[in-house]
Symmetry: C2
Subunit: 333 residues, 2 copies
């Protein structure tokens, strides 16, 4: 059995779609138990709409909610009875294997590190979402947990990312690239220039060299390593360019009677195409390297993303990701 | 009369499309004279295909070509008779007002700074392309000229970008945003945190605060300020996500007979929509802050981009961009 604490109060669609996604997850898999953390009366009212195996669902009352705009460090320290803090303590004390939240990214990241804690030897836990590419997905690591990283951090991101892609996505010997502004080794900023030769020396990493941003959507690397500021820009621009382009395509189709008729015909095919390029389809982003699993979903996550993310927690445990990280990166001190 | 030196040997489509674009530019405007720099026999053969006013076109022989893969500093130093070096000296000695090249970005950037030289007071000349947005264009500055910038550089980028957008694009009081990973002032890496309050204090800049990458395509800022590594990632990801998404949309339309029929009907409308989101449509990227104008087009530039870029040089001179930069940023030493 895998126990997953879910923040019932976080994100734009809480609690309605969070609760719905949790119900769908337990109905889809008997090996999962969800602990819905948040305001009990609200959660219970939502739950009353559905049928599910009662032994797979528990409500844990938390009277406070951390808002997205709150400064994260202060919020984690002060709101001891918030859904995020309570759920993180459930991962820390081992009663839950994982925590899923659509709430404040800052609070989840800070809380994950402060409350759940890092695996000994992991210098910085990176946030690592899957992003859609032409033929599948790539892991973008790091993407918002720690800005101004050092080369040693990027090496660890490459190792953890490789473990994740190999174990969860079944990609043997995943190709690791470093985000750069040119293909040659001498290109880049100080961080990339320093990291490049170190990555080349890692015998356990299938390092393919620099990856230009232009080639990321084509899927040239399975693990795309970068510092968090750059990673965050990549992730958000992916969403932004996609959204604007789709809006323009749709608008363009409405410009003449001829194209309007055509739009009716292409609509179903277009819909499934665009879904395959929607970052939400690939579940939440794990914060790797913690003593437990913490997953951040989009603030706008709907029940599909919540369900998929909860189900991913099962794979994460079964594939013993944390044991593998501990083995490769762990130290005794 | 505006004299424009054009690198006839640079880029994927040289010399054929470069020469064609130059001819189209002089045929479109009587106030332009183009100096085609490169291998004379080849250029003359291309020119013989067209009719144009001979007083508006001159060929300047250069026996060498700098290849894209060559280390730029060395190439500029050694290949004195290359089209890039010769053309840059024509800007330096005042016989030309501007230089346009689709060749090696590194060589153009290094050569621009070393040969043409910076306006006194400008610390670093940024590369500033226009990028398409939902309703128009934004200026992305800096985008590949200098990585690991300092706050004072970013302030100058904001000033030069404002001058450019106001004078060339006619946008009164252009909105300036700094690329960041969150909307709040306390967010960001060390560089952004240090730059933010300084930008806020600039009375002559219409600073609107942080801009998240997600919102750039929506056109929330007219001038998007960032350090060159991040800017390069943004520019190239724009192209990459766009290309992959369009490929997917086209592929998706071919999945059924119904959608294939629809595709035929939407094709013309879709084509013009996608053109408006093509970075090539907006001409080359100027390297701002030099004692003359140096413009880098895409390596894959076709005759349309060459023509548009040459015509832009006219606006640049008429609007006295360099005089305005000198006035705002210039110093005597």
């Amino acid at each position: 059995m895998v126990n997953v604490a879910v923040d019932a109060m976080g994100g734009d669609n809480a609690p309605v779609q969070i609760v719905k996604g949790a119900v769908e997850a337990v109905n889809a898999n008997k090996e999962i138990k969800v602990f819905l953390v948040g305001k009990e009366p609200v959660i219970k009212e939502e739950l009353s709409k559905y049928t599910y195996d009662m032994t797979q669902m528990e409500v844990v009352h938390a009277s406070e909610v951390i808002e997205t705009a709150e400064p994260p460090v202060m919020a984690i320290r002060k709101k001891k009875d918030s859904s995020i803090v309570k759920a993180l303590y459930m991962v820390k004390d081992g009663s839950c294997d994982a925590f899923v939240s659509s709430g404040s990214t800052g609070a989840v990241l800070v809380g994950g590190q402060v409350i759940v804690g890092r695996i000994k030897g992991v210098e910085r836990p990176p946030l690592a979402p899957l992003i859609p590419t032409e033929n599948g997905v790539s892991l973008l690591i790091d993407c918002g947990a720690n800005v101004d990283a050092r080369p040693s951090h990027l090496i660890q991101f490459a190792r953890m990312g490789s473990i994740y892609m190999e174990s969860i996505m079944g990609i043997k010997n995943p190709r690791v690239g470093i985000v750069n502004i040119g293909a040659e080794e001498e290109k880049g900023n100080a961080l990339v220039k320093e990291t490049f030769p170190l990555l080349k020396d890692c015998q356990d990493i299938n390092f393919i060299g620099s990856v230009e941003a232009r080639d990321i959507p084509a899927g040239v690397a399975d693990v795309v390593v970068c510092e968090a500021f750059v990673g965050n820009v990549i992730l958000k621009l992916y969403e932004g360019v996609g959204a604007t382009l789709i809006k323009k395509v749709k608008g363009g189709m409405m410009t003449s009677l001829r194209s309007k008729l055509g739009a009716l015909l292409v609509k179903p095919a277009l819909k499934s195409t665009l879904r395959s390029f929607d970052v939400q389809e690939y579940g939440g982003a794990p914060l790797l390297g913690l003593n437990g699993l913490v997953v951040k979903t989009h603030g706008s996550a709907t029940e599909i993303e919540i369900k998929n993310t909860i189900l991913q927690c099962l794979d994460f445990k079964k594939q013993q990701i944390n044991e593998k990280i501990r083995e490769k990166l762990g130290t005794q001190d």
